[in-house]
């Protein structure tokens, strides 16, 4: 049987709010529902465990920063950098999110149904079994996947708009997959387009199905759509820039 705890965040500062969430988890809650969230930052910051936290309202900046394990579901928008330096776990945002989504994320998943701001997926990185995944249902803004060093970043453009320019500047690891064609002019230095192979498609299909399932979308059109895959032109983008004294 799941143990659910409900917290009213109305007028509560983020520190006591996080203390209440931590307390609920320590007391064995599997699910924490946080109501009336209005921009409180750092929800789930540094949180361990495998509980699910439902955030009703608008989550403030650095949602799930340094988080290691739990799932956070936001019924609303999220501000700047959800999933910042996140270790593992999952963040599902039913609205849109601000800039630097999944910044330096090293594991787990961030799913955003709506749009994201500038510098989405910046410096995501992977190591051994830890491979971060960011999937965006709507559009992403400019400087998508900047300095990307690992992981998977998918932008679906389900609302018919795709605003990303300067994609993958300084990318030296990982992959960016965008539904539809991407104009060469939208790629930044260091990024190159390659065809999405059948193996790639098989590999990302489970991620797309999970995304569709989380948001109640029909997975088939998403799984079977055309995609452009963007990867680093080199794993050593700065190797040719320097000489020694």
């Amino acid at each position: 049987m799941t143990k659910q705890v409900t917290i009213d965040a109305k007028g509560v500062h983020y520190t006591p709010l996080n203390q209440q969430i931590r307390k609920a988890l320590e007391d064995g809650a599997d699910e924490v529902v946080v109501n009336n969230v209005l921009g409180q930052r750092f929800i789930g910051d540094g949180l361990h465990g495998d509980a699910t936290i439902r955030v009703n309202g608008v989550a403030g900046g650095d949602l799930a920063m340094f988080m290691s394990g739990p799932t956070i579901i936001v019924h609303g928008n999220a501000e700047h950098a959800p999933g910042n330096t996140m270790d593992s776990g999952k963040v599902v945002i039913h609205g849109s999110a601000g800039d630097a989504v999944a910044h330096s994320m090293r594991g787990g998943k961030v799913f955003v149904r709506g749009d994201i701001g500038y510098r989405g997926g910046i410096h995501m990185k992977q190591y051994e079994t830890q491979r971060p995944i960011l999937v965006v249902g709507g559009s992403a803004q400019t400087f998508l996947g900047e300095y990307m060093a690992g992981g998977l970043l998918v932008v679906l453009g389900l609302d018919g708009v795709m605003k990303a320019r300067e994609i993958g500047s300084g990318i030296h690891g990982g992959e960016i997959v965008i539904r539809g064609d991407v104009d060469d002019a939208c790629l930044a230095a260091g990024a190159k387009k390659v065809p999405l192979t059948d193996e790639d498609r098989t590999r990302i299909a489970p991620v797309l199905r999970e995304f569709a399932d989380d948001f109640g979308l029909d997975p088939e059109p998403i799984v079977n759509a055309n995609y452009t895959r963007i990867v680093p032109a080199s794993a050593r983008p700065f190797a040719g820039k320097y000489t020694w004294e």
Binding site: F66, N84, A235, Y242, T243, E245
Partner: protein, 506 residues
């Protein structure tokens, strides 16, 4: 782009062997990781071009047969077209690239510390003898409350009601600065950690994460978070005694860092949490700080993740608007600010940044302390001076200019054997310090090296107490910001005003 009719450059060093003394024992061949020496038949041959002046061969030659001369070949002397300038041009004419260099600035600029003289007591106030009267060096790093509130209990006792924030207690105002695992070896880190524990101080991890072999010393670690976030997760943050956000570095203000793939060995990859052989790129800014208003958010994110149990430091490079930078950082919620002067060390930095960007630590500390006092913020942060602290008087002078403590970098490396040859980037350090090659790392015995580091800190601590005692100062608080105990010797009026120090004789 390797066009070249420039020929080879004149030798930087000439290595010679006194053949009368040499007994062909081959220790030089074994010890030189750069390949200067090779045994051919019964003769040891020399390739001076590979020499870095690391002195390993000299140290291990049982007959003192090896001699080294720097710049054995003269250029036509010229006051403007120096050797360095000419050789940089030849290098770039050949390669078309940015020149990287190891260690700190080599610019021949006056050192302000050397032109600040310390005070001593004579007849008007007597000196104290540290042997007889204790000189208190214990220092607390972190926020101090602006005021204290008390409550009188029913039994008439007085109780403090002000909530105090966590501080780091150090027994001497000397910390071991941040040099990452990757830039230096695991044995070097272990030696530093043991010395920190023995002396009662802390060491910085640098931005390369924390190796599991250092977990036993985690209570002595200041864990660093840089823009690349290498090795950073919540467990790493929780392990440290304090957390430092690296916002800048004195050797290369305004730019990021870059550990080349060659140095990302299996173990380094594990600690940094990136694939083996991949470049570790730390961008110039933190990508969640795009303006000063974002810094408090990062500071609070780190504090929130660690439940407000750890002091959070920020490290910045000393640049022109240092006072404004420091005041802004002090308002962000950090507990201490480390300021890194333009002579700060580095494993690798572009030569032009290393030698031309930034301001000296002496000026940066003085202006920071002055500005913080002016704005009523001095109690909000401790100040840590770093970037070319070379000897104990530098520490006394830095504290008199307003610092709470100092970070040592190069001095610690030197205590472990480093000869400041500046070839850290080659990854072949024969002293086992700036290398990841196991046979070289094994040369550095952490038990011995930690004793050497502890000896240095102990000796400097003794010297500091002697210098303070001679000036009649018995506690570090009475020295901090006490510019009256300094006099400027041959410093110009403008600089004296910035330092807030009187000239000699005044």
């Amino acid at each position: 782009m390797n066009a070249c009719n420039l020929g080879s450059m004149p030798l930087r060093y000439r290595v010679t062997i006194d053949r009368d003394q040499c007994m062909e024992c081959g220790r030089c061949v074994e010890n030189c990781s750069y390949g200067v020496f090779r045994q051919e038949g019964d003769k040891i041959l020399i390739n001076s071009r590979k020499c870095t002046a690391c002195h390993r061969c000299l140290t291990y030659c049982p007959r003192d047969a090896i001699m080294l001369t720097e710049q054995p070949c003269d250029y036509r002397s010229h006051p403007v077209w120096s050797r360095q300038v000419r050789e940089a041009i030849y290098n770039q004419a050949r390669t078309g690239k940015i020149i990287l260099a190891g260690m700190g600035s080599v610019a021949d600029l006056p050192v302000i510390f050397d032109r600040l003289m310390l005070d001593a007591s004579q007849v008007t106030t007597p000196p104290t003898d540290p042997l007889r009267e204790p000189v208190e060096l214990r220092t607390y790093l972190g926020k101090k409350p602006g005021k204290l509130d008390f409550r009188r209990k029913e039994n008439a006792d007085v109780e403090l009601t002000t909530e105090l924030t966590p501080n780091l207690m150090i027994e001497t105002p000397i910390l071991l600065g941040h040099m990452s695992y990757g830039a230096i070896s695991l044995n070097a880190h272990i030696a530093m950690a043991r010395a920190a524990r023995e002396i009662g101080t802390y060491m910085g991890t640098g931005e390369g994460g924390l190796h599991p072999n250092l977990y036993p010393y985690e209570d002595r670690m200041i864990v660093q978070v840089a823009s690349g976030r290498f090795g950073v997760n919540v467990d790493y943050l929780n392990r440290g005694a304090a957390i430092e956000l690296k916002l800048g570095q004195g050797a290369k203000p305004g730019i990021g860092g870059h550990l080349t793939g060659e140095k990302v060995s299996k173990d380094v990859s594990k600690t940094r949490m990136i694939p083996q052989g991949s470049d570790a790129i730390s961008p110039a800014p933190h990508h969640d700080i795009y303006g000063i208003e974002d810094l408090p958010q990062l500071v609070h994110a780190v504090k929130e993740a660690t439940e407000w149990k750890k002091p959070v430091f920020a490290k910045i490079a000393a640049v022109n608007n240092n006072a404004e930078n420091v005041a802004a950082v002090a308002r962000s919620g950090v507990d201490a600010i480390a300021i890194d002067g333009f002579r700060g060390g580095t494993g690798a930095a572009p030569r032009v940044f290393r030698d031309h960007v930034g301001i000296p630590i002496e000026v940066a500390i003085a202006s920071a302390d002055k500005e913080l006092r002016k704005q009523g913020l001095r109690n909000e942060v401790s100040l840590i001076a770093c970037g070319s602290i070379r000897e104990s008087p530098d520490i006394v002078k830095a504290i008199a200019l307003g610092a709470d403590a100092v970070y040592l970098g190069t001095a610690v490396l030197a205590a472990m054997g480093c000869r400041v040859c500046g070839n850290c980037y080659q990854g072949l350090c024969p002293w086992g310090i700036a290398t990841q090659r196991q046979d070289l790392v094994d040369r550095l015995n952490p038990d011995v090296a930690s004793k050497q580091v502890a000896n240095l800190l102990h000796a400097w601590t003794l010297e500091i107490t002697e210098l303070m005692g001679a000036a009649g100062i018995t506690s570090i608080e009475s020295l901090r910001g006490n510019r009256d105990r300094l006099r400027g010797y041959m410093l110009d009026e403008g600089l004296l005003e910035v330092l807030d120090v009187k000239p000699i004789g005044a």
